[in-house]
Amino acid sequence: MTRPSAKEIKAIADVAGVPVNAEEAERIAASIGPAFDGFAKIAGTLPFELEPATFTAVQASAAGGKATP
């Protein structure tokens, strides 16, 4: 995973329906880029069956309870 460029961010923001200008896109790229870098080793490596709800199950298991709240 690579951090998005300002040009790509401008396109993504347009698609999201909240256009940003070139200066804003540069600022966003510099601002959020490190988060992409930090997550790069995880992105694209997760097992097929893994769901976000696994978090709740792990949390409940650690606390000695059921997965459902």
Partner: protein
């Protein structure tokens, strides 16, 4: 009652003042007036409040006194004056959320956490300052002005619960609700020298609290002591049908936990990340805190935690997308009404693809499992809350300038990983820099085990007096 004696009432703990009113050793009016007097002195200096409601507060205090005279006590906080972060909706009242956009927003419902506290008989003093929409770790607010640190008004309070930290530190409110999505309770607690509790995701209802990130938001108290935090947590914790993410598991007796000894407990000290690039004064306070806990019989063990920078990055991705989603309508319709920094940070969420966001959420379970494996057999982990004491107003007033995000990320470097893991964490004041600025540590617990970190924090506060020290009015 003289003003000096009146001021003494405002200096008591939450548990102490509640008991004093219940036993009619003082009236709610006297206590409320004492707080209002202090607010009048301090507000021009630190800007902790958004709204102050003296007439309404005194009327409510009189009603509380009249009820008590008839033998009617509403609850455990009968007649106690409090103020909370201005993001907890109270039906019929304005909740600005620290913003221009919601400057005139009148809530139609009352937040569950706030209602549970109010149902115990509290008196509303007004509302407390916060970062705009709770998205900012410094204490600056471009609409309502910066909140200044009571220990040194040239320094910030931290955010986003900036008013909560400052008001509790200056003894303007006996306690206050805050919220913690990336460090927003622990940061201000740390920089202002008060006790703050970030709760486990699912422990306290978020219904009626302004949302920022549905996966990461948590509600919790800031107070003058661990005991006061325990009292409040016992009131606000528990299942709420209005917030289906809250757990149905029983609410422990947190106050009883604070009276348990800590001898024999195992406290983990991370060997990396949380000890990297620490200001020497923060390192000194951390070391001294560990020594106190050891002296109380706790066993210190080294722990090797998984890569915390990855957790921090995942936290940023989740928070940015969820915040942008909540704010999308206003980003389209009213971008000019945001402060420059929050606008920039909300726009960050637009740049993250959906697949990346979901990967960051999907990894949360394995990441928590890896953390729990690393701390197996450990009752809590101790770490600094920030690598340095409160920065100055000037050096943290970065707006949306190049490098602003780096300043923000450095402030929340030690708190974000805990939000991503959804763990409880208690920030306790632990010492001071040579300049007189407070320095705290955080005790990080296992899911839903707030009782353990409250127990350890109370053990520390039984043998130290850092949490009892007061800032002087400049």
């Amino acid at each position: 009652m003289s003003r000096d004696v009146s001021h003494d009432l405002a200096l008591m703990s939450l548990t102490g003042i509640a008991q004093a009113i219940a036993e009619r050793r003082c009236s709610s009016r006297e206590v409320t007036q004492a707080c209002l007097d202090r607010i009048a002195d301090w507000q021009p200096v630190i800007n902790a409040f958004i709204a102050i409601e003296p007439d309404e507060a005194l009327a409510a205090a009189d009603a509380a006194d009249a009820a008590l005279a008839r033998g009617n006590t509403q609850g455990r906080l009968h007649g106690v004056p409090l103020a909370h972060k201005d993001m907890y909706y109270e039906a019929g009242k304005v909740a600005t959320c620290g913003s221009r956009i919601r400057r005139d927003f009148i809530a139609t419902t009352t937040a569950t956490a706030l209602r549970r506290i109010k149902d115990e008989g509290t008196v509303r003093l007004g509302t407390l300052q916060m970062a705009e929409f709770a998205l900012g770790p410094t204490g600056h607010n471009s609409h309502f002005g910066a909140v200044r640190n009571p220990w040194n008004v040239n320094h910030v309070t931290g955010g986003s619960s900036s008013g909560s930290g400052a008001a509790v530190a200056a003894r303007l409110s006996f306690a206050a609700l805050g919220s913690d999505t990336g460090g927003s309770i622990r940061g201000p607690a740390n920089f202002c020298g008060v006790t703050g509790l970030k709760t486990t995701v699912g422990r306290v209802s978020r219904a009626g609290a302004m949302p920022l990130s549905q996966s990461l938001d948590t509600v919790g108290p800031l107070a003058r002591s661990v005991e006061d935090c325990a009292l409040l947590l016992g009131l606000i914790a528990g299942h709420d049908p209005e917030d289906p993410t809250t757990t149905a598991r029983p609410v422990p007796d947190y106050l009883a936990a604070t009276r348990q000894p800590i001898a024999g407990l195992r406290i983990g000290v991370p060997q990396s990340y949380y000890v990297d690039d620490l200001d020497p004064e923060v390192a000194r306070v951390l070391e001294a805190t560990v020594a106190v806990l050891t002296g109380e019989g706790a066993r210190i063990v080294k722990v090797d935690l998984p890569d915390q920078s990855q957790l921090s990055a995942a936290c940023q991705l989740v928070l940015a997308v969820e915040a942008a989603s909540f704010h999308k309508r206003w980003l389209i319709e009213r971008p000019q009404d945001y402060g420059p920094q929050i606008l920039m940070r909300l726009q960050n969420g637009l740049a993250i693809p959906g697949v990346t966001y979901l990967e960051a959420l999907r990894w949360r379970g394995p990441a928590l499992a890896a953390h729990l494996a690393a701390v197996e057999g450990v009752d809590a982990v101790i770490a600094p809350v920030a690598p340095f004491a409160a920065p100055t107003l000037a050096e943290s007033d970065v707006g949306n300038a190049p490098g602003a995000e780096a300043v923000i990320q450095r402030l929340t470097r030690f708190t974000r990983p805990i939000n991503y893991l959804g763990l409880p964490s208690l920030s306790i004041p632990a010492g001071f820099t040579r300049q007189g600025l407070p320095v705290g540590v955080q005790l990080i617990g296992r899911p839903f085990d707030e009782a353990m970190i409250l127990r350890i924090g109370a053990g520390f506060q039984r043998t130290t007096d850092v949490h009892t020290r007061l800032p002087a009015l400049p």
